[in-house]
Structures are given as structure tokens and as C-alpha cells.
Symmetry: C2
Subunit: 189 residues, 2 copies
């Protein structure tokens, strides 16, 4: 059984070197130079770790069957040798978002913000893995951690993706966002 839980360890070690970190909205995280992405829980953090963020991959919340099939046919796996650039986007949504019903959230997410369609435009260049944190317990600083991987020549596709999403109605419900850009220093694993 592969782990659905992943731990992102920010510190001074790890295969991913931080190129930039930017608090798009809300409080920043402590600055770190490196990141490690660990499947499963980290019981004993490395001594120099500044922060640990956890999230679990989960069932899809918004896509329809047709959308899921189109996505599955186009989306690449993580770990491609040429995908030496990565981004970690940390996101929290407002209480107003979470008090909406499913049909209201879907309507904002896709019919009005085109989140899935915008995401499709970045495929197959950008690999993506979404981690949920909101239901981990009481003490999580973010609701979602999204991990992206792409080749240096596709960085513009990733930038266009985030620019479009940040201009959407859905993003008016985001109340904390941090973007960390990374480059792979060495082969993972």
C-alpha cells in the first residue's frame, strides 16, 4: 500500500533547493533553503527543520467522470527526469468558502472560475499532486498543499496557470497563500 500522506520538510537539507519563496497573501512561512518531500509521517524531524507540513491525497471533490477521464489521459506522473523545476503552493480558503454547499462550490470552482479547464491547458507539461490538510485535525495552517513539477522550458506554462487561477472568482475565497519555487539539486530516491 502506497502512502496517501506526505510530509514536506522545510530546512537546510533535501533534494529540492529553494529558488524563491513568496507570501502571495497572508503570513509568510519561515524561509528555508531546501525542501524534502517524504511519503508518510515524519516522527522525528531533522534537527535543522524549520517547518513540517503534512497533507493527504484523497478522492476528487469536483470533477465529473468526463473531466476525470480527460485529465487522466493527459496528466503526467511526478518524477520525470526532465522535470527539475517544482513549485509548492500552500493555500487556505476562508470560512465563507467552507460554509458553501457542494453544488455552490462546484459552480464557483468550474462553471465560473474554469479551474479544471485552466489546469488542462498546463497538461502534459506540468505534473501536479494535490494534498488535503483541512481534515487532518485542528492545527493545520493550510487547507491544501499542491505540488507541481515541470521542465525549465515549461516554467512559463506554470506561471500562466497560477496567474489565471489567481484572477478567478474562486481565488476571492483564498485567505492565505504562499508559493515556493524549487530546483532539483540531485536525483530523488
Amino acid at each position: 500500500v502506497t502512502s496517501r500522506l506526505f510530509t514536506f520538510v522545510g530546512g537546510e537539507t533535501g533534494p529540492w533547493r529553494v529558488e524563491s519563496a513568496r507570501a502571495v497573501l497572508g503570513a509568510p512561512l519561515s524561509f528555508v533553503t531546501h525542501l524534502d518531500v517524504v511519503p508518510g509521517a515524519v516522527r522525528i524531524p531533522p534537527p535543522e527543520a524549520a517547518w513540517l507540513l503534512r497533507g493527504v491525497t484523497s478522492n476528487e471533490r469536483y470533477v465529473t467522470r468526463r473531466e476525470k477521464e480527460v485529465l487522466a489521459a493527459r496528466q503526467p506522473a511526478t518524477g520525470r527526469p526532465e522535470a527539475v523545476c517544482a513549485a509548492l503552493i500552500l493555500l487556505r480558503k476562508s470560512a465563507a468558502w467552507w460554509s458553501l454547499t457542494q453544488d455552490e462550490r462546484r459552480s464557483i470552482f468550474e462553471e465560473r472560475s474554469r479551474h479544471i479547464q485552466i489546469g488542462l491547458e498546463a497538461l502534459p507539461a506540468v505534473a501536479r499532486r494535490l494534498h488535503h490538510c483541512r481534515d487532518l485535525g485542528d492545527a493545520e495552517p493550510f487547507d491544501f498543499l499542491t505540488w507541481f513539477e515541470f521542465a525549465p522550458t515549461d516554467a512559463g506554462i506554470f506561471d500562466a496557470l497560477t496567474e489565471q487561477l489567481r484572477a478567478s472568482e474562486e481565488w476571492t475565497f483564498v485567505d492565505r497563500e504562499t508559493e515556493i519555487r524549487l530546483v532539483r539539486d540531485r536525483v530523488v530516491g
Copy 2:
């Protein structure tokens, strides 16, 4: 801020006395005589605890705005003095369920299984609080813990509720279920 996380501690102490425990489907839990329901995490379990189960209340996954309003108008709070009977239903759903898309799950949940309508028939007699476990991490034995409270004279309404749900198409996706029935020995808090 009130906790969304709750810990259910099965052992020999706690305000709720176990009247019966039944593995409806799949492996049973160790039998305990009492249950405590603790808001938040339990760092140090009582020495006689046989098991701890954790879950978080969360945003609604299936109701529409109209259904949410009807439910909100009818559902009672937990902790009513006359509601000295309780039930804890522990549920896990199959991988097949979780691989369905949202619209497919909604269709089975309500259009074909009438989960919300069946639940409405038990209101305002039966108070209910749903806790999610599936996204707590990797090691949870159940996906949901549902807590119910009702007066002794309304036990038949609770029985009718579970009987109807267990006969539904939705329940063909349940692959583990345990029902624990309880009586309040003393006033909580």
C-alpha cells in the same frame, strides 16, 4: 475556537455505558464497557483504554443549499438532557466508492439511496454529528464515525433510520461497519 476534532475513547471509564456492540460487517472492535467522547486530541490515553478513534467534523459533501436549510431548521443539538441514549456507528467504504466522481457519489447517495430524505425522517428526534477519518492520515480503520443521541422513547426512530440506510444502494459500498449502543450513566461535563 471550538475543536473540529473529536476522540472517542473505548475502555472502562467515561459517561457513556455500552449497552451493546455489534460488528454489522467486517472485523469487530475489542469490546469495552464505557465510552468517553473528548473534544480535541487525546495525547495520553487512559491506561485502561482499549481503543481510540478520531474524527473531524467538516464541510458538507453532498447536500444542496435547499437540503442544508431544511436540515438546519429541523436538527437538534447534541447534549439534550432527555437524550440519554446514544449510538456510535463506525463505517468504512470500499475503494470502489472512493474512485467514483463527486456527481456519481451524489447520485448514489441521494437520488438513488435517499440518504438525506431518510435522515430527515428521524428529525428532530435524533441528534447527529458526523466525523470524517479517511483524510486523517494512513492508519485509520474507518472512514466515518457518526454519533447519534436520542431519548429512550425515540429508539425505534433510530432503528428505522439505520434499517433503511443499510438496505440502500449506498450501503453496498460499505465494507466495514460496527454499531455501538450506549446509555448515559451520568451528566456529561
